[in-house]
Subunit: 335 residues, 2 copies
């Protein structure tokens, strides 16, 4: 397996990635917000031993990383790769992460909850991602005792996660729905039935690269399977609508826009992050629709051209310098 | 010789073309504004015979064209090639033109004055252009009698042309002076000493492709040689200032802009005239400064991508259709 953003999913030109997150807490320890440093260190050790001490195939692919050993730049590059949350990257307390070599599995220790199991896979792969997350959950459950209430389910720091502790999400590329102005209406409808649509990489509901994350909101009173099934239904409806919208776009105008975007990316010497994302979105659409014949993966470029990813690769860079390195990297990749 | 816009002048990256125009009127005939149709036809015939009836080398390269035989589209394409004035293209009375095969010489008959001799050459070539214009002037003078006053010089319909009847002009590419906002100040200074700077292809003083025409205004009380010498001094000063400005531009930003312009022109599927001109201007600058390594001539593209030039080449086209043909033509030329 490879990192989600390096894998080109052939099955869907709309679904970019699928993510499962399970929130778990250990019985007998306060929630992280109220933990002492000693308790945090104890937590890290217990989770580490539970995973790495087990003799499962998982254990061999997983690595325990003390977050104090990770430089700031690399932490935020992890955020850009969707491995950890920004809140986790900002924590100064002793926290740790258990990571698979392909980064598809990441277990944050000491974020909002004691344990946050995350599995992220390319394309529309909710069932597979859930399957992996569940195996980790079982593994941890064997040696750790989770805070669980027969009525409320898994206990979590925030009541919105109570119950299954499951947050399932799909990242979708929805440029046609965005251009058509349909995304807001769809977002409002979807939120009424317990799901959220929000822009990735951007502020508020408007996304930078037309990337939107659809996720379940309800964790209480609804089983994991139902939550996943419902999310899949919503996701497939959005994909269908997006493809309809794409097919109704003016072909020539679309070609014009896609080729121009590629032309700029192949030529620019200075490239801001936001411009790069908007152009990459057009290139992704053009590639998906067979307009642009390029080998490079637009999503891979989008992730690798993020500010901290560039800093991690080329050393600490000033914003202006970063725009130059970004332009060079993108140009070379698309040549 | 070749059309001015098809010739790539190696000597100057700033001077695009040089133009000489001599206004002449025949004794005993009213100015065109007051001529009857019969008198116009008589005028056309007399000029035609004066030129084509002579046994000079000129005569063999020149062709007489009745403007009634020229389709509207071609007339305005001639305007775009700077062969005739827009006023002349709009005339419905019997008018004619005498044209050399390379279009460097054009003699408009029945424009504002009876005769307008024009010579247009690529680059900074005022002396050579004047030399050719003078030969035609002498040739015509031999068989026609020009309205001439010993005090006022050549008589012309408009008093601004009285005297030498000479308008000499140079078309300059001044992107760096334009970006730096210096062009307006320079234009004002220059106008105070009897010269005019005006944008080509655009409205008012702002030009579309940073192309500006510098011309003499004084035709009375100043000999032709002095007028040309003064224009040359002004022109060389402008060229020097432009080159200074170019060299003080931020190199990376300039490269970014030039490469982006080329990238868009090489990729767009829909291209408006104004966008094309602004991008071509960047490409011309980039080529002049050794940033872009392209064979095609930006000025040739700029002229050939004008609306009526496209109509003439591809048949009558709607504006939208024209933007598509323009994009295709430009893309192919720059591939």
């Amino acid at each position: 397996m490879s990192n989600w953003y390096k894998t080109q999913d052939q099955n869907s030109s709309v679904a970019v990635s699928s993510r499962i997150r399970l929130a778990r807490n250990l019985k007998g320890l306060p929630f992280p917000a109220r933990m002492t440093t000693a308790q945090r260190i104890e937590l890290n050790q217990r989770v580490k031993e539970a995973i790495l001490g087990s003799n499962t195939p998982f254990a061999k692919t997983l690595k325990y990383i003390d977050m104090h050993d990770v430089p700031e730049t690399q932490k935020f590059a992890m955020v850009e790769r969707h491995i950890i949350s920004p809140e986790f990257a900002n924590k100064t307390e002793p926290t740790a992460i258990i990571l698979s070599s392909d980064e598809s599995i990441s277990i944050m220790i000491g974020e909002e909850d004691h344990i946050r199991i995350q599995v992220i896979l390319a394309g529309l792969n909710l069932a597979k991602a859930y399957d992996i997350a569940e195996q980790i959950d079982t593994l941890l459950h064997d040696s750790l005792h989770f805070a669980f209430d027969s009525k409320l389910g898994f206990l979590t720091e925030c009541p919105t996660n109570l119950g299954t502790g499951l947050r399932a999400s799909v990242m979708l590329h929805l440029p046609a729905l965005e251009w058509g102005g349909e995304i807001e209406t769809l977002g409002t409808s979807i939120s009424k039935i317990g799901f959220t649509v929000r822009g990735m990489y951007g502020e508020g509901s408007k996304s930078m690269a037309s990337l939107y994350q659809v996720s379940n909101q309800i964790t209480l009173g609804l089983g994991e399977k139902n939550a996943l099934d419902n999310l899949l239904i919503i996701t497939n409806q959005l994909i269908e609508k997006e493809i309809e919208s794409r097919n109704s776009l003016n072909k020539l105008e679309l070609e014009d826009q896609c080729f121009r975007a590629l032309g700029i990316l192949q030529n620019a010497r200075i490239l801001s992050s936001s411009e790069m994302m908007n152009l990459i979105s057009c290139v992704k659409l053009g590639k998906s629709m067979g307009i642009l014949d390029i080998k490079a993966s637009p999503i891979e470029i989008l992730v690798e051209a993020q500010p901290f990813m560039l800093c991690g690769k080329y050393g600490v860079l000033e914003p202006r310098e970063r725009d130059i390195y970004r332009a060079n990297m993108v140009r070379e990749t698309l040549k």
